[in-house]
């Protein structure tokens, strides 16, 4: 008995978790009724420093609040990462705040799942309902905490929700990573020791392949890049199956066959190795396994002529780009990319890109891929309980490495196909919309219906919200103070979102929701643990129940006010707490360093204080060098070096198209589908189809098309254009909502989740969003 208890205590040490106010985030881990819109309060006129949450970037903004109403959002010039700007989505934050379709009160389902029928309840009734369902489920599953899954959308308060997950003790946390960037983050990390920051402020040659920074805005990359294109310091080569806005700002656009980027990179590598154009000193000193890689590339004959047949890019262009890249190196970058869930070879593609970039020596150097510095916050660790009955993640063997954010598609499909070793019965969802962000929404709907309890916290009635059992309304970002965040980078800083106005209706910040919910659940759930966990039973015998319960107290992470936690998190920086409250941004010596240098331009750090080179030529990889080969992966069935395989080539039957999805600068995934201002700019999405193909089919602009794949169909208007090839079809993600509660987004445009097949790649079980063949029919 004693031994078992000490085992428990030993394990506890290994799951320490942070309940601090702060979240450290390097830029690489980024990873009422309509009639009464707002309460007018007093005659105040104030400016509040906040941070935007209309997308992942978190730009610093100033909210002008007059008489209790947020009237305007302006950029806050103090934040190095957002460079004094707010994009269209940032400006539209006010419309998100005052959207009449917002979730206003807690709701409980009052009809068949999916019927859209809910009844208004009090917060306490909602918590009590969750408690009743959850205790029943956990009792029936004998305290296997992993029967309850947790998922979250990206956001500054994701950390707060995750604390609840950690305390709860389930093995299942799921987020956007496997639908977004898992492959590129790990591809670069395992090769050069970090995802890194592309220094587009100083690079002289940039290859952007599949990344579309003019439309999918990333800060500060977008702002740094396009001030320097068109013969003004940086050459930009865009590689994309579509002629994007980024392509329009480039020196060269190479139209590539979908899913063949790896062949392109291997051929670039072939040229620089064969012609010995790489940075020899850098390779000699800082590469591990170069000879092996060199032989691999040369022996496989990855020539530009070979790649031309696969990629559709002319061999002469490949020679030219390879030579030009190295002529500009080390100020030359093969841009990492972000949403890289394209095809089965994604991970290998990102490894090949990283190695190619490194061949020029442009790693940890100004104008190359940098790693930057961080400003650490004070973190207070608390011990999370271990639950003896909690079983491991169900989809852990569905890919070589399934990390802490899971493989969403594999997880969902195992549950649906009854392949899970134990039942998955409940889901807690924070602001995540798997109905729209995961391929094959018919399966997602079935999955959500199959669960006994789906609790969703959100601001808007999304498609996922409509398939939930309990809906808890969160306030928008303008109505809450969130955990202070440290942004690492070449010019690191700390930023804080301060509440601009009080939460409207009955909505609450997630911190308060978690506080209320955990208070309701903590004792009843501990009773279940007591019933099934022998360790706990014997611990109670040895100590006393109160002492043991203290370990399992779910309310621990939510005891303090967020503003108070933020003050503690920045305690080591003198004056920071007050500055963050007033100005929203802090970094050491900000008063001295921050300078206005023009009507639009600011300097954040003097040149010699910027963290361009920080690694002292020791990279965060197992060998401390650039890793050409990762033999450990071979044991898991993953190629140790990037290899082109014939199965990567996908035949497109005559008359059909390979479907690709993406972004434009006026929408953030499915989160903006009901935003009045953004819909005023872009009322709906259109299917890009090659103009000559459209002509043959008698399709003209605005014709309604039914786009169908093996798994489903959607309807969308046609946009015939020469900016896309004859065998490719594209439309922007985030439209075609099913939820009738989103009055502007409902049934508006095409929904890609309805047609994209749900294949996964072998490394992380990430989605292959560009591996679907579709056909079209005029309707």
């Amino acid at each position: 008995m004693k031994v078992e208890i000490s085992r428990r205590r030993f394990l506890q040490g290994s799951v320490a978790m942070s309940i601090a106010g702060g979240v450290s985030m390097s830029s690489s881990s980024m990873m009422a009724s309509a009639a009464t819109p707002a309460k007018k309060v007093g005659n105040e006129d104030k400016k509040i420093a906040t941070l935007c949450e209309m997308c992942v970037n978190k730009c610093a903004a100033i909210a002008h609040v007059r008489n209790g109403v947020v009237e305007k959002l302006d950029p806050n010039p103090l934040f190095p990462k957002s460079r004094n700007m707010l994009c269209a989505r940032g400006n539209s934050g006010i419309q998100a705040l005052y959207d009449p379709d917002r979730l206003k009160y807690p709701l409980i389902r009052d009809g068949e799942k999916g019927s859209g029928k809910f009844k208004r309840v009090s917060w306490d009734e909602a918590y009590a309902y969750i408690n009743e369902k959850l205790t029943k489920i956990l009792d029936e599953e004998k305290d296997n905490r992993s029967t309850v899954a947790f998922c979250a959308g990206e956001g500054m308060a994701e950390h707060t929700f995750k604390s609840f997950f950690t305390m709860f003790g389930s093995s299942h946390f799921l987020n956007h990573a496997s639908l977004c960037l898992a492959t590129t983050v790990s591809g670069y990390s395992l090769t050069i020791g970090g995802y890194g920051i592309a220094d587009l402020d100083n690079a002289k040659y940039v290859i952007m392949a599949g990344a579309n920074r003019a439309e999918a805005i990333v800060t500060p990359d977008t702002m740094d890049m396009f001030k320097r294109t068109n013969g003004r310091g940086a050459k930009l080569i865009t590689v994309d199956p579509r002629f994007t806005n980024t392509a329009a700002k480039s020196d060269k656009w190479l139209a590539i066959n979908v899913g063949t980027d790896l062949a392109f990179v291997l051929a670039l590598t072939y040229v620089v190795i064969k012609e010995e154009r790489y940075n020899k000193a850098f390779v000699e000193n800082y590469f591990n396994g170069f000879e092996e890689y060199k032989n691999h590339i040369l022996n496989n004959n990855y020539t530009p002529e070979w790649a031309e047949k696969i990629t559709g890019i002319k061999a002469k262009d490949i020679y030219e780009v390879a030579r030009d890249f190295m002529a500009h190196a080390p100020q030359a970058i093969y841009y990492q990319g972000r949403r890289t869930t394209w095809s089965k070879n994604d991970f290998q593609l990102r490894r090949a890109q990283a190695i190619f970039s490194a061949l020029g020596g442009g790693i940890d150097v100004k104008g190359g891929i940098c790693f930057g510095k961080s400003l650490p916050l004070v973190e207070h660790d608390a011990v999370a309980p271990m639950y003896a009955q909690a079983k491991p993640r169900i989809e852990k063997d569905e890919a070589a490495v399934v990390g802490g954010s899971g493989s969403w598609v594999a997880f969902r499909n195992m549950v649906l196909e009854n392949r899970s070793p134990y039942p998955i019965r409940a889901l807690f969802n924070y602001k995540h919309n798997p109905m729209q962000n995961m391929p094959n929404n018919a399966k997602t709907a079935e999955f959500l219906k199959k669960l006994d309890l789906v609790v969703t916290i959100d601001t808007m009635p999304s498609d996922t919200v409509m398939l939930s059992d309990v809906i808890l309304p969160e306030c928008t970002y303008l109505e809450r103070t969130d955990p202070v965040v440290s942004y690492g980078g070449i010019e690191p800083s700390i930023a804080q979102r301060n509440k601009a106005i009080d939460p409207m209706f009955e909505s609450k910040p997630v911190m308060e929701i978690m506080r209320g919910l955990s208070a309701k659940l903590t004792k009843p759930l501990f009773e279940i643990t007591k019933k099934y966990d022998e360790d706990v039973q014997s611990a109670i015998e040895d100590d006393d129940e109160e002492t043991v319960y203290a370990e399992f107290d779910l309310t621990k992470p939510f005891a303090h006010d967020q503003a108070e936690l933020n003050v503690n998190a920045v305690a080591k920086y003198e004056g920071a707490a007050d500055i963050l409250k007033e100005k929203g941004v802090f970094y050491p010596n900000m008063n001295e360093y921050f300078k206005k240098v023009g009507v639009n331009d600011y300097e954040y750090y003097p040149e010699h204080k910027r963290a361009y080179s920080v690694r002292n030529m020791k990279f965060n990889t197992p060998s401390g060098k650039i890793e050409c080969s990762v033999p450990a992966l071979a044991k898991k069935g993953i190629d140790a070096m990037p290899v082109w395989r014939s199965e990567y080539e996908m035949a497109i039957p005559a008359g059909k198209f390979r479907f690709i999805t993406g972004r434009h600068a006026q929408f953030t995934q499915s989160g903006t589908s009901n935003n009045r201002l953004l819909l005023n700019l872009v009322p709906q999405n259109y299917a890009w189809i090659n103009k000559r193909v459209a002509e043959k089919l008698g399709i003209t602009f605005g014709d309604k098309l039914e786009v169908s794949s093996k798994i489903g169909k959607t309807t969308i208007k046609a946009y015939p254009t020469e900016k896309i090839g004859p065998d490719t079809l594209f439309f922007v993600h985030g439209f075609g909502v099913y939820s009738k509660a989103l009055s502007l987004g409902y049934n508006n445009g095409g929904n890609d989740a309805a047609i994209i097949e749900d294949g996964i790649e072998p490394m992380h079980g990430s989605s292959c969003l560009h591996d679907t063949i579709v056909e079209i029919r005029k309707v």
Binding site: K72, L73, D74, P75, R83, N84, M85, L86, C87, A88, G90, N91, S92, I94, A214, E215, I217, T222, M223, F226, K227, T229, N230, R232, F243, N245, T246, A247, A248, K249, S250, D251, K252, W253, A255, G312, G598, V599, N600, D601, A665, Q666, R676, L677, L678, N680, L681, N690, R692, T721, E722, K723, I724, G725, P726
Partner: protein, 187 residues
């Protein structure tokens, strides 16, 4: 006396339309079709896939040119359109009778009928919403991710806009009409 104009580093423009959204929020422009004070003119790419002429696709941010010799002012029968402070072309909503002569006269298509105020409205360089409150930038300039716009006093030789125009080549739109526009596109 000041004479306000705007220089545009239009090569920076990525057509993200932050400027349009900021203008609408700042100036209360109704979110209806054809209601806009500023816009990004897009010239679609020429050529056939995959041989697209990159240079053929351009983004041309635009708005009222605040002409020194404004055709809209000349045709206004009620003097609702007038030259305001700093040479800005302004509209007096109390005098506008919605005859829309100005819409027809403007060679830049910079005016529209605002259903909220029943006025033929246009860009004011945010003079009432921002300049009057001590701001020195327009909403479109402040919000722009790639910093296309530089607003300022053309009569002040040391202003950033004056220095920019003194040192860079630029062009104006439909200058030959004699309108003397005050938007300058930096080449």
């Amino acid at each position: 006396m000041a004479r306000y104009g705007m220089a545009l580093n239009y090569k920076n423009c990525i057509n993200c339309r932050a400027c349009e959204s900021a203008c609408k929020e700042e100036n209360g422009v109704l979110l209806l079709p054809d209601h806009y004070r500023i816009w990004v003119g897009v010239k679609e790419a020429e050529g056939q896939f995959p041989n697209i002429s990159i240079a053929s696709q351009t983004y041309h941010p635009s708005q009222c040119q605040h002409c020194d010799n404004a055709p809209c002012q000349q045709v206004c029968p009620t003097n609702a359109t007038y030259y305001g402070e700093g040479g800005m072309v302004m509209v007096d909503p109390t005098k506008c009778i919605l005859c829309t002569y100005c819409i027809n006269a403007c060679p830049y298509d910079a005016r529209y009928v605002d259903n909220r105020t029943n006025t033929v409205d246009k860009c004011t360089f945010c003079s009432d919403t921002r300049l009057a409150n001590g701001e020195t930038t327009t909403a479109c300039q402040a919000t722009c991710p790639t910093k296309v716009r530089v607003f300022g006093d053309l009569d002040d030789p040391n202003s950033e806009i004056s220095l920019l125009l003194a040192n860079k080549e630029y062009r104006q739109v439909k200058e030959h009409l004699g309108t003397k526009p005050k938007l300058f596109y930096i080449l």
